[in-house]
Symmetry: C2
Subunit: 788 residues, 2 copies
């Protein structure tokens, strides 16, 4: 299937790029003609997750690109109401407010939406977005999904109120908008520097705009949002010359504005700076589509211009390259299976290649967590690290799908951030170079350790280990000082103490693993010891992880179903967090008693009756299967734990239950925030039949495949093929497994086995094989020497 599909794709990319894309999905354009190429299975991937809880965006982005050029349907909301609009766009919304350059893919919190632009046709140019309920009350426009198209790297829509056709594409550091204005109507572009995602009064600290001599429009904005005082610069180059413009400052009640610069009219000048700017750019009557090429920079306006110039060409050239890049990236794993599963798989795979995003300028400069400009030497700085999410499966997946250089870029970016961090620690949740202090742990550590242990070169292991140790020993962060003293984080000193204790223990174990591999026995011993600290917060009596106070007692009252912000756990409760000992599941299972006791408890979690519990108040709690919550990350490895307890067929059952209830190839197809690829990476791994329960172990726990056939064309040139013979709805169990034609008795793969290339073949069965991979030696095992 591989070759013909990809040839077809190239043809499709061309047709999409050279013809008005929206016409293809417009009812007026008639049905698809006979000769039209078949769309690739990732054709509508960007729309998956744009409704429901996914928080993905439908717009154009190159793989790991700096620009995410995408429509925003509503940005005018208050903080809590904004949650649903974290990516700017909601599939359910009836209007588009404009197109902005930066978006998160699936974040639970949000920000960005920088530099919103909206084309306007005709003589009247509204400079306020207007009310979605009152068409024509502002520059926003109604739109219809029937005249909307999204494929990786390309988005198009018809703005119904103005009749303007809009197409978006993006390169690595540029974006291009293409607007077709109705004949006989003057073309305008509104640039609203007030607009932002998660907007609220006072968010914009300062902004500026000006027109350069060559017609390039540049400017800046500094916002206080999720990250403090984030600076971003832009450069905008339209394909047609300006015939007029107006810059306006809408800020009211300013005690003192300073003297005013030269102006022709109110606030209209070659440059304007202020806190509430909006710009009207006029182009007159055009007989060509207007193309608006854009770039951003964290460094300065010149950086944005240089980025703009770094990728030559207009809409056609940029969209050709980016769609080809996507086709290559996604086509690297050709699969066969049910149409829905194939679409689900590629939608997921697409969403694993958006973040971390390129962030350094074309010349290597980037603004760091210290708000200072640095130069990346020998690597491309990436940002947008949602590490609490992505250390689990997203980064492990990127180690298989991306080359040495990209993965080294990630690690080097983390190290570089640590080296200039005012706190001297690795990123926690970083975007646009700034630290947001979101979530817990120091999960850059397992990302780096996993990369090192899986053989990624191209970074300095000593600098990396130094950064890891510093992050794990920085007392003021998240109760670490207490943790180092007591062996656990005490809940009377630090919130979410139970979760922190177990996550630190896992992170520490990955330091020990890497230090050990580097021959640094002292560091390895120190952190191997710390890796056992999960025991200090595990209450064997109740069988749950629990928060302890400084005096050693467990906090009471204790309700394992309680989920609250500021509680003992992070976005979860005792049910989810008690299983988080990836480095020593066997040790944890011993505390629970027999394998049977473990399975019973796992079943109790999945089969829990939630009818008496109300979680509507809790953010990020979605996708519930009993107390298993697939919509958030702490549960992600739990279905695979049956295999650790010697009952892999129970894992197989649960995976079917999860995949079928939590993923659909539709806008509302994600049960929880995609979290910068983690939800999607879980699906990609699970669909392939294995999952990295403990990054740092180099093990992948075998689950069961959901595709008939899949081939990982690895960056090293090898191919690892997964075949699922007899896969069907009825044949939901793994009957037997062979690796390269030989029976595989154990329930896990090693990283070496995958990267060597080969074939993993499942024979599916309608009945469970209760003897395969059940013995102690055949189970995925814990790497912690304390237990083994």
């Amino acid at each position: 299937m591989n070759a013909p599909l990809r040839t077809g794709l190239a043809a499709l990319a061309l047709s999409l790029t050279f013809a008005p894309a929206w016409a293809q999905t417009s009812p007026d354009a008639g049905s698809a003609s006979q000769g039209e190429p078949v769309p690739p299975p990732w054709f509508e991937a960007p729309l998956v997750g744009t409704g429901g809880e996914g928080h993905t965006f439908p717009g154009a982005v190159a793989p790991f690109g700096m620009i995410q050029l995408s429509p925003d349907t509503d940005t005018g909301c208050k903080i809590r109401e904004c949650y649903a609009h974290a990516a700017g766009y909601r599939y359910e919304d009836p209007t588009i407010q404009g197109f902005s350059l930066t978006h998160f893919s699936g974040a639970g919190h949000s920000d960005l939406g920088d530099f919103l632009m909206m084309p306007v046709a005709g003589d009247t140019v509204p400079l306020e977005p207007g009310d979605p309920k009152q068409p024509g009350s502002g520059y926003r426009s109604r739109f219809s999904h029937s005249r909307e198209m999204a494929r990786p790297g390309l988005y198009s829509v018809v703005l119904d109120d103005s009749g303007i056709g809009a197409r978006l594409t993006a390169g690595t550091r540029v974006g291009v908008q293409q607007y077709v204005f109705p004949k006989g109507k003057a073309a305008h572009l509104v640039l609203d520097l007030r607009s932002s995602l998660y907007n609220y009064p006072g968010k914009t600290l300062w902004s500026s705009i000006r027109i350069r001599a060559d017609g390039t429009i540049t400017g800046s904005r500094e916002t206080r949002g999720w990250a403090p005082a984030r600076k971003l610069f832009f450069a905008i180059r339209p394909s047609a010359p300006l015939t007029g413009h107006a810059f306006l400052n809408k800020e009211e009640k300013v005690e003192y504005k300073g003297f005013q610069g030269p102006s022709r009219g109110a606030d209209d000048a070659a440059q304007l700076a202020g806190r509430a700017l909006v710009a009207q750019l006029d182009f007159g009557m055009l007989d060509q589509p207007l193309e608006v090429k854009v770039a951003i920079s964290s460094v300065d306006e010149d950086g944005a211009i240089a980025n703009l110039d770094s990728e030559p060409g207009g809409f056609r050239e940029i969209s050709n390259k980016t769609t080809a890049d996507w086709d290559k990236a996604l086509g690297a794993i050709p699969v066969q299976g049910s149409p829905a599963m194939v679409k689900t798989f590629y939608a997921a795979l697409y969403h694993t290649m958006i973040a971390p995003s390129v962030f350094s300028d074309a010349d290597g400069r980037w603004r760091g967590p210290d708000d200072q400009v640095h130069a990346a030497k020998g690597f491309t700085f990436h940002s947008t690290f949602s590490l609490w999410d992505t250390f689990r499966a997203e980064h492990p997946l990127l180690l298989l799908t991306q080359g040495e250089q990209k993965n080294a870029d990630f690690v080097n970016s983390l190290i570089a951030s640590q080296q200039v961090s005012p706190f001297g620690i690795l990123p926690v949740w970083q975007f646009h170079g700034r630290e947001t202090w979101t979530m817990i742990g120091y999960h850059a550590v397992p990302v780096i350790a996993d990369a090192y242990l899986k053989g990624i070169k191209g970074f300095d292991p000593n600098a990396a280990l130094d950064a890891m140790v510093k992050s794990a020993t920085y007392g003021p962060y998240g109760g670490l000082d207490q943790h180092m003293k007591l062996g656990y984080v005490p809940i009377d000193k630090e919130p979410e103490a139970a979760s922190k204790t177990v996550e630190y223990a896992y992170d520490d174990w990955t330091i020990a693993r890497m230090a050990s591999a580097m021959g640094k026995a002292d560091i390895a011993a120190t952190f191997e010891k710390r890796a056992g600290n999960w025991r200090n917060s595990f209450d064997a009596k109740t069988g749950f992880l629990r928060a302890r106070k400084s005096d050693g007692s467990y906090r009471t009252p204790f309700d394992p179903t309680a989920i609250n912000y500021g509680s003992d756990y992070t976005e979860g409760n005792a049910w989810q967090y008690s299983w988080f000992v990836p480095q020593d599941q066997a040790g944890m299972f011993k505390l629970l008693g027999s394998d049977a006791a473990v399975v019973k408890k796992l079943d109790a979690m999945f089969d829990f009756d939630n009818s008496k519990i109300d979680y509507s108040h809790a953010e990020d709690i979605a996708g519930l299967i009993g107390q298993y919550i697939h919509g958030n990350e702490p549960s992600h490895h739990v279905a695979y734990l049956y295999s650790y307890a010697g009952q892999p067929w129970r894992t197989q059952e649960r995976l079917k239950q999860i995949v079928e209830s939590q993923y659909k190839p539709t806008p509302d197809g994600l049960s929880g925030n995609d979290d910068l690829g983690q939800m999607s990476a879980w699906l990609v791994f699970t669909a392939l039949g294995f999952y990295p329960v403990a990054p740092g172990s180099n093990q992948y726990v075998i689950g069961r495949p959901f595709l008939d056939r899949a081939a990982l064309n690895l960056p090293n040139g090898k191919r690892f093929t997964v075949v699922a013979e007899g896969l069907s709805d009825a044949n939901k169990y793994v009957g037997k497994v062979t690796l390269n034609g030989k029976p595989l008795a154990r329930g896990y793969l090693t990283h070496d086995e995958i990267v060597a290339g080969g074939e993993l073949k499942f024979t599916m069965s309608a009945t469970p094989n209760k003897s395969w991979a059940t013995g102690k030696a055949a189970r995925p095992y814990s790497m912690s020497t304390a237990t083994r």
Copy 2:
């Protein structure tokens, strides 16, 4: 007198540097001992103008230095009340709030006061400045002038409430504070990032602070003040290690602050960012004085650190160098005269060497009017250009006192600013690289033309002329589009039109002069024509410059004494502005009629009865002698105009009247804002006996000297000596003049005559010499070909 004086000064500088300076002025220290060196005549120069209307600051600055480290007595005022505190310090105030790093010298408007620090002794550390009326209510302290000392480059004071002795010094890009804490009291430093001059709610857009691994404290602040969104970074390095610290954010009612970083207590962290930060730095018990070395940068924190490192040494080394630099700079013009006049002269000379200030970092980088970072190649970027003031006498004086390189630096800085200006024009009123759009005209033009015509090399004349022409033809600025169309600025389209018309005409004339000297006849002809535009706004019928409307009529009603913002004139009225035709005084006089008519009108101005006029509402109107207003610039050349009318003895009389009523060597000794040296430069020239009425003409109009003897040791190694034989209160007239021993019949000098070195000898007389320099050929003349 030259040599012995300067030797004595060197000794004094040493004694001041090595002994606690405040002890010398403390009553407890007893009277001056026998062997103590005599203070130089500029000993207390920095205090002159710190009361009254001068708006100077008493603190430490190196010649043209980037840092102006000076006490602020009150920064908490509202805009209008702030006027009196434009330099932070008022001699009349009873308390010092703290010491900040940046100050204007004599500005009418204000800003700066960046990074206020205050030492605190003992266990309680207040973090609010407190009420001046309630001692102990905050960190501010009472102080006494009896225990205060200021000399160029050095300031010391005892903070009476805490008993801390404070000394300040500054290098080119560093400042050093030295604090002696009372024995047995713990040492602290408060850094209040909320404090600023001309402060008001919302001025601070953002700020940050952090501690680097080596103990250096760095941070930033972005303020919206006189200049929009000015960014400044700091680096602070204390001589003792921190024993503790607290960073606090005092901002209230923030809708959304983002997540909080790692902290030990409320807001206390290794880094804090926000809009209302205050930091407490603890040093414990010290047995040495605490030295706090500081630097700033417009580029970034690393730039501030590099600046800090660019000048090695502590208080002793930096103060030794800077006081020696000042002694050299001021001692280059040794003078003899009455003690008061000598002190007045040096106080003035000192104040002419503060701005324009070095602004580029040690590595040459600077942030420009476009808010972008640029690199100065081959020159040092200077900023703080108060050009409407300083084009008159301050820049012409610097052409005589400073070397080729410094003057080329000024010109290159102006050109560099134009080249990156979003408007493509030269600075109007620029500080810290940012344009403030204060005052009128494009007076960088005469500064550059004067430098070129006086032979300053080291800049590109073509780039300069291009910048000048662009500035003079930028339509949106100050009614220039109308001016170019009508030949005058119409008052119905643009405020202060009359002033703008005549100032543009003068500026245009200097373009013509420079273009002509460069052989560019076309440009010269164009601007020579424009130089005559003053005629289009001069009403020969009333004998006054008047504002005209677009239809050609003069605006009525017309009252030549009316002074209002938004009126026909800029900070003045028809009395002052009608005389502003430096390029063609003879042409203007023709319109008034005979010489006698001119003199009569000049007398009418000086002898005007103001008893029926209330100017209390008008800012910057101070120092009135009738309708001659010495406290503001438009009048500055007017006393010299009698000489143009053939009555130099009347100029001599008026100069005595002005000098005696407008200048004293005391804190309240300036009748108006020093305006970055212009008020002082007027005095320096006038005391020497000549004045540059028309920069660009290479003429200096001879007035009368106020010193017995003065020697300009010129940068080219030549010496130009001025001798006033028989000078006394009675001998107020010039009897005769010789140049290099030969009688000088004319009433002006040429620039070539001065820079060639030589001796200008006045023989003073009790009676006017009514035949000297009265004939047409002997008068200072107009250079405009239109008239000549």
